[in-house]
């Protein structure tokens, strides 16, 4: 057995354990995304990084072996920062169409993004109507697809269309996904824009997004032959 210090908590573990296993034993939770013992343990997502105390070195806890008197920090500023950027990087290559994702909100990635303050995920990701009776199917001009998630607000619980109070998502790809939905469901873009202006017209990106929305809508209508 070897002794290791995890965030100052001393635990005894088998010599060939990983830091992650030691942390579990210490009762600490380290987030993981690509760790599936027995199936896939290749340390590719780097969300589980922790810092080796005193060295500034970040290592993936899911595979990194412990050694005697090893001391690690699992939640300092540098670690949180690295995790946030890792999540942002994953999202950067992710098609954020939560509306049509079969996992229907049961998504570890989203959970972690919320925990680490990653922006750019639409309200649809946490909508209570998710997958059920989406308001867009009733041609309501809900701003969910282009608004930042995280409000957990009354509109969601009441089944009311989103008014965009958390501010718009500026990523072009997300807006494109949203426009596809609007045009596909036949939601009036004028309605969307007028609703959008209520809370967002003072946003620095307001004009840009309006323009983007209109342009993309034009393109989409053309593509869908509407």
């Amino acid at each position: 057995m070897v002794k290791v210090l995890i965030d100052g908590v001393e635990v005894e573990v088998e010599p060939n354990s990983t830091i992650l296993e030691a942390a579990e034993k210490a009762g600490l939770k380290i987030p993981t995304l690509c760790y599936f013992p027995g199936l896939f343990v290749e340390a590719t997502c780097r969300v589980c990084v922790v810092e080796l105390s005193g060295t500034g070195r970040l290592v993936p806890s899911c595979v990194f072996p412990v050694s005697d008197r090893l001391s690690v920090e699992t939640d300092n500023v540098r670690v949180r920062e690295a995790r946030r950027i890792a999540l942002e990087a994953i999202l950067a290559t992710h098609r954020i169409a939560c509306q049509s994702c079969p996992r229907k909100g049961a998504c570890k990635l989203l959970e972690l993004c919320r925990e680490y303050g990653v922006e750019g995920i639409p309200v649809c990701a946490e909508c209570l109507l998710y997958g059920g009776d989406c308001l867009l199917t009733r041609e309501e001009a809900c701003l969910g697809p282009i608004t930042n998630a995280g409000c957990d607000g009354v509109c969601l619980r009441e089944g009311k269309p989103c008014v965009g109070c958390r501010g718009p998502i500026v990523s072009r790809d997300t807006v494109r996904e949203a426009v596809k939905l609007y045009v596909g469901y036949g939601v009036s873009l004028d309605m969307v824009l007028s609703r959008f202006s209520v809370y967002n017209s003072s946003q620095p990106d307001y004009c840009r997004i309006v323009k983007l929305l209109s342009n993309l809508a034009e393109e989409e209508r053309h593509n869908q032959g509407v």
Binding site: R46, L58, A82, A89, I90
Partner: protein, 655 residues
């Protein structure tokens, strides 16, 4: 050389009992200094004659032609054929041998002539049709046309006007330690290698205990030349103590950095030295099998190493019971599929095992868990060549070069805008300035020095005021560059730093294996951000993104490819931030390289209306606008810069 001729590797008479089945301990020494087990004047004479023939050529006439990849690329094959032809025409018998590159890439193809009684002369930039004339004038005793001489004897015409090889700036500051045979010995002949003191290190190692070999390498202070600079003895001793059999050694010859060719040059010019180092390493750690992993794009290097292994095997220097030492070891040459990441040690092991070349998280390190899960040592070509040389010449000499923490010599490759490009071997610790301005002769004429990228795409870019930095592992790392494999790319004032940073990033982005998120996505984010800046769409925020994502990659990537990929960006942000800011704030490229940020215009007073530019312009953006005046339509211009090149009056300006 006749095929049936007696060679030093053969038995001198029936009394010699060495063969690969019945090896003799003294074989190597005996081949040159023998015979040792019997005395016979004929056997001794045979050796003396053959050694002199190898050193001075048949009939005292020897012609060596630089036929490394660099020489071949500029036509050395034609020079070789022409030499044979011209000799035949004159009825002269001589040895004509292909040799490796001595590093004078800017002077290739090189032809060296030696005739007993005359100074040995080297001719640079030789063309096949000038070979005959060179031969004639040289044999008449006139060396005035040579580029350099190896020695002076005072008998030839024009001897004093031609510099000695050691007096040429490019070579004067060098220490030819590990590259000593480059350009001298025939790399395809094991006999040559043995005449030039080869395999003596192996003999010495086999006479010592493995632990003592490791101790000698420790005392020498040798550190890995493949990039990370890990102490070689430590790696060996960890592997020696590790449990598990068999053990393996791997020679990393997957040299893939743009601008680095020192491994290729060494292995092409002196493959036996690399092989000897590998056998010594195997002996030291107790390995029974080895691999030489060669980049398939460097086929000559693979061929030469393969041939070296075959020859060594034939004469009992490789295989079962090597030189009667009871140590057995064999190697196999593997040609890699050619991805940059194959050079990363764990990826290389995966490739040798037959898998896809993707790195894995270390620890465990290969020294304990390597090839097929067994203890494995991976060493670079140059590291191994140093091992052979240290074992033959002693660690004291090696350790007398270099600085406190970085001993010995290192081969650097100088490319880019340097006046003289090529590979040079210098003591570690020489300053960057000495290397660029003394050895390489500064930047090409008409240009100004701007920066130097040290360590390839994983390295950093240093400005003028950092040039007094000593080239050792620690100093370079602290300045944001790395020793890496030792490539220096000299950048002149016609280059845009942001554009250069993007070039290196595009390389790492393409070569990222894609396994881990920081490198796979991070390099793309960096590339896209730089592209935005270069195309004039950058904002202040982009510099923050570069720094944030760059630091993240450095800290969180799985292997050193991703960890070092942001170095070119982070170092240029440190030393050339104003150039980034000019692109972002002023939408201006100070070096006038980034095409979206420059515009072309014709100055009315200078244009004479010749119309050449209009003919050259690929998109017809230039039209006649007056009697003696042409005009560029900015909205059609694609900023290719062709018009500037053709205008005879310098009437076109780039802004």
């Amino acid at each position: 050389m006749g095929a049936n001729q007696w060679s030093l590797m053969d038995k001198c008479c029936d009394l010699c009992r060495h063969s690969s089945e019945t090896p003799c301990r003294s074989y190597i020494t005996c081949a040159v200094e023998g015979p040792l087990c019997h005395d016979n004047i004929e056997c001794r004479e045979k050796r003396r004659f053959r050694i002199s023939e190898i050193k001075n050529g048949r009939n005292g006439l020897k012609i060596s032609i630089g036929m490394g990849s660099c020489g071949l690329a500029v036509g050395a094959r034609g020079v070789y054929d022409a030499t044979l032809r011209e000799l035949e025409r004159r009825g002269l018998e001589a040895s004509v041998i292909p040799v490796g590159c001595i590093g004078l890439c800017y002077m290739e193809p090189l032809l060296e002539i030696h005739k007993d009684g005359l100074p040995t002369a080297i001719y640079g930039r030789v063309e096949p049709r000038s070979v005959g004339e060179i031969l004639d004038t040289y044999l008449e005793g006139d060396v005035s046309g040579a580029s350099a001489l190896r020695n002076r004897v005072g008998t030839a015409k024009g001897e004093l006007e031609v510099p000695l090889l050691d007096e040429i700036d490019f070579l004067r500051y060098q220490v030819r330690w590990v590259t000593r045979n480059c350009g001298i010995a025939n790399p395809e002949s094991i006999e040559d290698y043995i005449v030039y003191d080869g395999y003596r290190g192996l003999v010495r190692a086999l006479e010592s205990k493995p632990e003592d070999v490791i101790e000698i390498v420790r005392k020498a202070g040798l550190r890995g030349r493949g990039g990370a600079g890990f102490p070689t003895w430590l790696k060996w001793s960890i592997c020696r103590r590790a449990e598990g059999l068999p053990k393996y050694v791997v020679c990393n010859a997957d040299e893939g950095d743009p601008g680095a060719f020192m491994n290729r040059m060494l292995a092409e010019a002196d493959p036996h030295r690399v092989l000897e180092g590998l056998i010594i390493a195997a002996y030291a750690i107790g390995a029974s099998y080895g691999y030489i992993f060669v980049r398939a794009e460097k086929p000559l290097m693979a061929d030469r190493l393969e041939r070296a292994a075959e020859d060594a095997r034939r004469y009992g220097i490789l295989g079962h019971n090597i030189l009667d030492s009871e140590f057995s070891f064999d190697v196999e040459v593997i040609r890699s599929a050619g991805a940059f990441v194959c050079g990363e040690e764990t990826a290389m092991l995966a490739a040798i095992e037959g898998g896809r070349a993707m790195p894995r998280q270390r620890p465990p390190y290969p020294a304990t868990h390597g090839l097929f899960g067994k203890p494995t040592v991976i060493n670079n070509v140059e590291t191994l060549a140093h091992v052979a040389t240290i074992m033959s010449d002693g660690w004291e000499k090696f350790a007398s070069y270099g600085t406190g923490g970085s001993k010995g010599t290192k081969v650097f490759c100088i490319t880019g805008s340097a006046a003289r490009t090529g590979a040079v071997e210098v003591p570690i610790g020489i300053t960057v300035r000495e290397l660029i301005f003394k050895v390489a002769g500064g930047v090409r004429e008409g240009r100004r020095f701007k920066a130097v990228q040290i360590g390839g795409p994983s390295g950093g870019c240093l400005p003028e005021n950092m040039l007094d930095l000593p080239m050792d592992y620690e100093s370079l790392t602290s300045a944001g560059a790395i020793m890496g494999s030792g490539g220096l790319i000299v950048i002149d004032d016609r280059n845009c730093i942001v554009d250069i940073a993007r070039f290196f990033t595009s390389f790492t982005m393409a070569e990222s294996c894609g396994k881990c998120i920081p490198c796979r996505v991070g390099s793309k984010i960096l590339y896209d951000t730089l592209t935005r800046i270069i195309e004039g769409g950058g904002s202040e925020d982009d510099l923050r993104i570069l720094e944030e994502v760059g630091t993240f990659m450095k800290n969180a990537s799985l292997c050193a490819l991703g960890q070092t990929a942001p170095n070119p960006i982070l170092s240029t942000l440190r030393y050339f931030r104003d150039e980034y800011e000019a692109h972002i704030k002023m939408k201006e490229c100070p070096a006038k390289v980034c095409s979206k940020l420059v515009s072309y215009a014709i100055e009315g007073g200078l244009c004479v209306g010749c119309g050449l530019c209009a003919k050259q312009c690929p998109v017809q953006a230039i039209t006649k606008s007056g009697e003696r005046l042409y005009h560029i339509d900015a909205s059609r211009c694609i900023r290719c810069g062709q018009c500037i090149i053709v205008c005879p009056r310098n009437a076109i300006s780039r802004r």
